[in-house]
Symmetry: C2
Subunit: 357 residues, 2 copies
Amino acid sequence: MQSSFRFIKALARQDVDSTPVWFMRQAGRYLPEYRAIREKVGGFLGMCKNPQIACEITLQPIQRYQLDAAIIFSDILTIPDAMGLGLYFQANEGPHFKDPIRSMRQVQNLPIPDMQTELRYVMDAVSLVSHEFKNRVPLIGFCGSPWTVATYMVEGKSSKQFSLIKSMLYNEPATLLALLDKVTTTSCLYLQAQIESGANAVMIFDTWGGVLSPENYRQFSLRFMEKIVHYLKSNPITKSIPIILFTKQGGQHLKEMAQTGCDAIGIDWTVDIGHARQLVGHQVALQGNLDPSVLYATPENIEQQVKATLAQFGHGNGHVFNLGHGIYPDIPPEHVQAMIDAVRKYSPAYHQQGKVT
Amino acid sequence: MQSSFRFIKALARQDVDSTPVWFMRQAGRYLPEYRAIREKVGGFLGMCKNPQIACEITLQPIQRYQLDAAIIFSDILTIPDAMGLGLYFQANEGPHFKDPIRSMRQVQNLPIPDMQTELRYVMDAVSLVSHEFKNRVPLIGFCGSPWTVATYMVEGKSSKQFSLIKSMLYNEPATLLALLDKVTTTSCLYLQAQIESGANAVMIFDTWGGVLSPENYRQFSLRFMEKIVHYLKSNPITKSIPIILFTKQGGQHLKEMAQTGCDAIGIDWTVDIGHARQLVGHQVALQGNLDPSVLYATPENIEQQVKATLAQFGHGNGHVFNLGHGIYPDIPPEHVQAMIDAVRKYSPAYHQQGKVT
């Protein structure tokens, strides 16, 4: 993992001059330039599926701010969409599937999509960004965790109680496990293809792993993320690419997550990052973890919160600064600037190189 | 705390013959007899405010099942309603307030409601149940945690991101602390009045404490629950009444919760109850903690899950069986029966008396 990128170095727990910073959903609705494109192009899915547009949106926050990483503008539901479930978005309602999965027969009939045809648009967007920004900032590719993607495939939409997939978990575990296996296989190929197209790091978003009991989390979420990690780490083309796992509300599972062989763990704000560091030791880097609501605060208060988080992590390497969840759509862009400025201002003191110069 | 009630004994970690069991939202929409009353009477709030109806609904699950406790049919938002915020419910949208709290001036103008007039209907319902069921099952009184109640008072409705109250937290903490103080004072009087009206135990529901960072949880939620505990425990009339604290998604705070002086902690299903028991030792009893989704499973699978939870807690006293959250409205009532049957069947083996007989 030799790289001059601060972000890649921090993921490898190597020396950096300053804590690298990027934000989940940094390319999104809070940016006026994003809303302008969205008004012109129309729906969210149309923007994801147009590589030129996806590239432009990916680069918007990089052009506006001094960020240490870009993340490809896409969605965790591209995989089930490519499997033929008929993804569509309704205004203010989130994603829906025309044909949700409810039976073993449906699982068995699900195809493994081809990366170079059905998911070509994602690879094209990754290639475009990668060429456009080579040697400037690293690009993060991503997928959802198999459990998280499966929740949408079974429920057919966003859920609060997860009644359908949990009924399946308790009453037809074989069906759920078969579905998770298929999504896992596809996710391995999907991340590999993104890496081959130019992604410099990958992240697995387990947005809904935190709604499971510890036992079910291990069996139905973590185990499948681990399979993806093993696949990528045992493949000569992908093994040097850092992998970040992120389970929202996963504060109780950090030790087990660190043992999967991943390079870093994303943590949300319900965890003390200093405590998290004690738990995982030198096994992995940590990414996080301010409450996205801190961006509603005044720039002065944002600065205080950044200082507190840097102090909680403490001296040394292995910290990538981020929020604990995506930026909310009604955040003022100048508050994001204030957060980046504070990381740049206060983090060098926590790094050896920062202390030497 | 001398009592013959299995529930009260378990909260005091005394010997019982069988693990006591009750369910959050055991009086609710999943019961056809509840839906029948609701159709006749109309809105949810009207049912809460009619002591005869509230008493009848409280007793419905007790008449149908062999439960070890009743919980008064009411709502955590009775307090802000009595403070004049104008509570109303919209179909499928949850609670709303006509006049949410946004400024220090509004906080200062908030009255402390009188328990014997503005909140008389709650005390009357508690008295009615208490008289009707004296010596049969203990009755639980309750309130929301000050933080949880304040989220509704500031946001004006249910929230996912808590943008307004978190802006207040970061930008105007004095306003939020003043609001929490006022709700805390009222909650102390409110629980005391419920106890004086006949409640045999009280529970504080901190539904939204889990959305805070550990530091903010301590400062804005736990500290105020602790004040309520101290108030009740230092008052001769209320000191012998057991207090249960429940923070949803609070698995990372169990040790600190146990140190407040409460008698028991409610835990949700994202915690391993055996691990929780190790953490809190003999300081408190534990209440929980099956995923309410388990009730979607078949009776056979429900039985397996109950067995697993009893085994996780292990031998000895101090366990009150419950779900980790309220019963969902679309659960078949016979599945609740299956869960209770399984607790009755398998729990005696974990208790000394059970082993002797």
